[in-house]
């Protein structure tokens, strides 16, 4: 069976969706012949032409607003940001029009916003951040963070078929590092459902995005039996999956690449505090980046991003309980 990188799975997801549905098109900066800063859309313009692979001027609020407008009249656009960091420039359109329109008036706005995010690429404060936390918590939006090749494809296909605005955070560090079996065109990852990537009985590691890889590495090495819960959709959260894993393990460590007070760990821990309290034998712990912007220097960034060692130390603490 053929192999695929995470990046190739995203491209295949776009290509297959565009073949299956004329309403799907890609819009963004340099997405055409250049194929985007990471080459994710390379070749699409040759197959689909400039009317379905649309280069725009530099205007994130503008082209994302335009994507909502196209969705209003029946299209299903994919809007690509060059870096997720620039989603701050389109924040208003996303939370104002994207999040509230269906609730106010019943107009569905099926737009997928693809946002290349995450650190470890020496991008510094403006090309490495994890902005998912700015949107997790906003009613009307859906936020997904694939952590596997299969979900890179499956969540993208599901997001494109979903009738709500979905922010799809694709991790730059996984683009070429992550390889797996090439997903079949039928592959869909249900939105709103977490996945047990590894089952275990001693402790639950809750992770998403690039932290899934880290959690699995920890699980492999650990003497403890670690259950790895891959959130996949970080907003809205899969309440049942989180609580039932806690019921099994009664110990939990939440992993997050984003800095401690951003990301979605706060939502997960808030849920656990309110609804998982009696399930726990120990206080839940969090492994996340510190509350600073993402630093550029390798010495700083390597310290900044959660490591296997830090997770192992927290697990030891949890079990020594």
């Amino acid at each position: 069976m053929a192999e695929s990188t995470y990046l190739e799975a995203i491209r295949a997801g776009m290509v297959d969706a565009m073949r299956d549905d004329q309403r799907v098109f890609l819009i963004g900066e340099d997405v055409g012949h250049f194929g985007g800063p990471f080459g994710v859309s390379k070749g699409l313009i040759d197959e689909f032409g400039a009317e379905r692979v649309i280069d725009t001027p530099i205007a994130e609020e503008g082209f994302i607003g335009a994507a909502f407008g196209a969705a209003w009249v029946g299209d299903r656009p994919i809007a690509e940001l060059q870096f997720a960091d620039f989603i701050s420039c389109a924040f208003d359109s996303i939370v104002t029009i994207g999040a509230k329109t269906h609730w106010r008036s019943g107009i569905a706005l099926p737009v997928v916003i693809r946002a290349p995010y995450g650190g470890g690429v020496r991008g510094g404060p403006f090309h490495s951040s994890c902005p998912e936390g700015f949107f997790a918590g906003t009613a009307g939006l859906k936020v997904v963070c694939p952590g596997t090749v299969e979900d890179a494809y499956g969540l993208l296909r599901s997001a494109i078929e979903d009738d709500d605005p979905v922010i799809y955070f694709e991790h730059k560090g996984l683009y070429r590092r992550l390889r797996g079996e090439q997903p079949s065109p039928e592959t869909r990852t249900p939105i709103g459902r977490a996945h047990i990537a590894r089952s275990g009985s001693d402790v639950t590691l809750i992770a998403y995005g690039a932290m899934v890889e880290l959690a699995l590495r920890v699980a492999d090495q650990s003497t403890a039996s670690c259950e790895v819960l891959d959130l996949r959709t970080v907003w809205p959260l899969d309440r049942e999956a989180i609580l039932s894993s806690l019921a099994r393990t009664s110990r939990v460590c939440v992993l997050q690449e984003a800095s401690e007070s951003l990301g979605v760990a706060g939502h997960v821990l808030s849920l656990i505090a309110r609804e998982g309290f009696e399930l726990l034998d120990a206080a839940p712990v969090l492994v996340a980046a510190p509350d600073t912007p993402v630093p550029f220097a390798p010495e700083l960034e390597d310290f900044y991003i959660p490591s296997v060692e830090r997770v192992e130390a927290e697990i030891a603490g949890l079990l020594g309980y």
């Binding site: 082209f63 029009i97 269906h102 609730w103 008036s105």
Partner: protein
């Protein structure tokens, strides 16, 4: 008093048959009479929040709405109730929104002019000024790439002109060469700020052409017929593939910014001039009279508009208030398992 108003120029009027002129009159009357009712209800405490009127600007919304074809789409702002009516939105729907009724277009979830009627191709206003500009550009982009002969339209004022989204939308429209029409409402004020303190060159038409390369015409926004002529022409140029078009309509916001604002900071001479000599409804009536319209017909037009508004209000008042148990319905179009 009515006679003091400057009649619309004869030659413009002569371009059209009686029906169109009566339809413009009907839409303006519906707009004016609805808002008069709404203000009265607001003063009685029966409408919450705030109320924004289009008094003095009724010609623009009516003309723009009529200039659109049945399959076109529009995102009006809050001085353009006549545009909603031209699209087939009913007075009951408008009152239903002001009165926050369960059967209203937003089911009581939003208020005043913040509503749209999807079936009529009308997008609901969002307060964040400028947001609707890129939105309609995107709708036009969809029409263009699907080769559908459809046009999208939105409006903004001399104040919203300053918002970054307007720049991004205008530039996208120009570069992507899409069939969109921008109707610019130059009504003298943005809240308490006069146009001259909002931009250096108060001609939005010159700015739109000079800054973004989009053709723009400036017309008298109190003249329903020349407004219709200009906006209709812009819509058809856009439909014919000539790209984005803009029409700047000069008028004056007669009332304060909203019900709570007496507008005492406004230029009262100019305000009186518009109130007493440039009322868009009176100007059209004056023209119709000069063209020999029968006074009874005109009286009939007014009383039937009043009857339509009263009936709409009565219907909306009969609707129930929204049920809190339904509050969370529709947060998502595709609910999660």
């Amino acid at each position: 008093m009515a006679t003091e108003h400057e009649a619309i120029p004869a030659e413009d009027s002569a371009l059209y048959g009686h029906e169109l002129r009566l339809e413009l009159l009907r839409l303006m009357l519906l707009h004016r009479l609805t808002e008069e009712r709404v203000m009265a209800l607001y003063r009685q405490g029966r409408i919450s929040g705030s109320v924004y009127t289009g008094r003095g600007q009724e010609a623009v919304g009516a003309a723009a709405g009529l200039a659109l074809g049945p399959d076109d789409v529009v995102a009006p702002l809050n001085r353009e109730l006549g545009c909603h009516y031209a699209r087939g939105v009913t007075p009951a729907q408008a009152f239903g929104n002001f009165l926050a009724k369960a059967n209203g277009p937003t089911r009581g979830r939003d208020g005043n002019m913040h509503f749209g009627v999807p079936a009529r191709g009308v997008f609901p206003l969002v307060s964040m000024l400028g947001d609707l500009c890129p939105l309609v550009v995107g709708a036009a982009l969809a029409f263009k790439r699907r080769r559908e002969p459809r046009v999208s339209m939105t409006f903004w004022g001399d104040g919203a002109m300053s918002v970054g989204d307007v720049h991004e939308g205008l530039n996208l429209a120009a570069v992507l060469h899409v069939p969109v029409v921008f109707v610019l409402q130059s009504n003298g004020y943005a809240y308490s700020t006069p146009t001259a303190r909002q931009m250096l060159n108060p001609s939005m038409a010159e700015r739109v052409t000079g800054g973004w390369g989009i053709p723009a015409e400036t017309i008298d926004g109190t003249d329903a017929i020349s407004s219709y002529t200009a906006i209709r022409a812009a819509v058809e140029r856009a439909r014919a593939g000539e790209g984005p078009q803009a029409v700047e309509c000069i008028s004056m916001r007669i009332d304060g910014h909203a019900a709570h604002d007496d507008g005492k900071y406004m230029d009262q001479d100019r305000r009186r001039e518009y109130l007493e000599r440039r009322d868009p409804i009176e100007r059209l009536l004056a023209r119709l009279r000069l063209d020999g319209a029968d006074d009874d017909d005109l009286a009939a037009a007014q009383s039937s508009a009043l009857a339509e508004v009263n009936a709409g209000l009565a219907e909306a008042e009969s609707w129930p208030a929204p049920d809190p148990a339904t509050l969370a319905d529709g947060v998502y179009a595709s609910p999660l398992g």
